[in-house]
Assembly symmetry: C2
Homo-oligomer: 344 residues x 2
């Protein structure tokens, strides 16, 4: 059996977000700053950048002086390429001895100037989106242990954050659980996983099966989601991950004010209920007991005084605990899970 | 924009099926013999082989003497590898100057002895399952022209055959149509296409969009299907292909006597109606007008006197034309399509 993708990064990090104008596509950077602020020394932004991760601005030179060991490319734009103008900076960082860490679809080895710069200093080029070879086809055979998968009405809507927050909340109440990474940022945080959107299409569910192997009956794998069943670009990844994960439970991730697929504005977001129903329908193929156990909503764009009414209304409508994980945490969802799946 | 995968094979062919015991997994060989018998000189079987494609048996030496130019690996087993014992024969063929044509997930270049043998004779090593690089992410933007996609209750259930037969029937009535290949055998037959199950997962629907580009309003792309939405191993490929194809219409392919997913016997086949309903539900995301226009059934395992009752019953139940394309042709489905989509 192939092993998962493993990465071991040298700390601390400088995170490159350049002139990225939309925080949605700087989610790698934001994810690392949110979950491992202790490892982040600074951010590298270009003049005119409109987003700010709230950590010190640094040039490559300043980072070297501050003892930074890795430059992490902190963006994930549609199509997965970085603008040409960024490569000079990346090359400088490699020449200065910083490991370059990248989770996009291309490989760093495709850029000869960066390869040469890294060679001259001994820096490492680390491609995180590098799935294992010889992946198996999914078997669909039931595995032991319990699984909860994050799914979403869209991409970049809080699935990774929700998984990390839910895993933390579970462990805080003494449950046995493991965060399972399926994307670049999740793998950087966890140190292992499989970048599920980078595997060859025939092996999506097979890779998903490897990510959450057999486990103790009361153990929960909290699986990071990818894409959306409703996404015109990425739905295949989402369905393969759903079938391969065989989740007993799923948490639906949503944004209270988003009305269309981000970057695909001609596609309206599905309703929360529609999204729950289609996940139950599709997911029941490999786990007939699948159910939605909670809704995790980004309410940051709602007026503060509408937030709790919104969540209460959604909870009333669906009969499920609804939280903004950044504000409320995931405790309410964990309590619901404990009631539904009492420890044996 | 990347171009499709193109292949140009030298004729005639010798088709290697070795000791494959299950015709389901020799579908590449059977597909070529069925659709281009004029190009096939013979089959290469090992002693004890239980299947027969009905063409002359030949050794490599006999094939050379008969003027054969290409050895086609005619099998597609689960997981996509050929048994170790076959490689001596493949090496012999390459050394004798036959091009080696392979549509499996590995690359011929990974086998040094075959590479050396081909080099010594000047033979070509042709990997058909070789998707274009730099594929785009699917846009979901509506394209002009009409599309009909083959879908199935399972893999290896007649989707390619049905697409070829439907395309032929359309052209025979004077309609404008094109067969669009999404798999290895289809690409060998058509000379171009994209092996959709071999693309990186994030680009499945983007590849599907390339396969059936904008066209005249009355032109039909007849798109080869892959996998099944209900398949625990391959469903992601099927959903991405469905979303990227944006089909106006689909033909459901089924086998009258199959009760479980072939090779995944713990998974029962979905019912025909369930399969239609879930394709309409999922497919309506990128084409709200999607509908099922017919059912193409392999009835070869039914007793001859039950065949027409079976098809009539299914037609009654679903309100759709039901044919065994090998026996009845696809004329009834074409007539239904012409009624539903009158020429402007």
């Amino acid at each position: 059996m192939p092993k998962l993708t493993h990465v071991q990064l040298k700390v601390p990090y400088l995170i490159l977000i350049g002139d990225m104008g939309d925080a949605t596509y700087a989610k790698t950077g934001f994810g690392i700053v949110q979950w491992r602020p202790d490892l982040v020394a600074g951010q590298l932004r270009f003049p005119g950048s409109e987003i700010d991760m709230g950590v010190p601005d640094m040039t490559v030179q300043e980072a070297v002086e501050a003892g930074v060991k890795s430059l992490i490319i902190g963006v994930a734009p549609i199509g997965g390429v970085v603008p040409d103008s960024w490569w000079t900076i990346i090359e400088d960082a490699a020449r200065a001895g910083l490991d370059i860490v990248c989770g996009l679809h291309f490989k760093l080895a495709e850029f000869p100037a960066v390869v040469a710069a890294a060679k001259s200093s001994g820096a490492r080029l680390i491609d995180v989106r590098n799935p294992p070879v010889n992946l198996p086809v999914g078997t669909g055979i039931k595995r032991s242990g319990k699984r909860v998968l994050m799914v979403g009405t869209d991409c970049a809507i809080g699935k990774k954050y929700s998984a990390l927050a839910l895993n933390e909340a579970m462990r805080n109440t003494g449950m046995s659980s493991t965060f399972r990474a399926t994307g670049q940022t999740g793998i950087m945080l966890a140190g292992e996983g499989i970048p599920i959107d980078a595997v060859v299409a025939d092996f999506i569910s097979g890779a998903a099966e490897l990510i959450s192997p057999d486990n103790d009956d009361d153990h929960w794998d909290v699986i990071e989601g990818q894409g959306s069943l409703f996404h015109p670009g990425y739905s295949g990844v989402s369905l393969g991950l759903l079938h391969g994960s065989q989740p007993d439970a799923f948490v639906l991730c949503h944004d209270a004010t988003r009305t269309a697929i981000s970057g695909w504005e001609h596609y309206p977001l599905p309703s929360v209920q529609e999204c729950i129903d289609q996940h139950v329908l599709a997911g029941s193929r490999t786990n007939p007991d699948i159910r939605c156990v909670g809704i995790s909503v980004n309410t940051s764009q709602l007026p503060a005084d509408e937030r709790s009414d919104y969540l209460a209304g959604l909870s009333e409508e669906t009969g499920l605990p609804c939280v903004d994980p950044l504000i409320d945490g995931c405790g309410a969802i964990v309590e619901h899970i404990k009631q539904l799946y009492p420890k044996r």
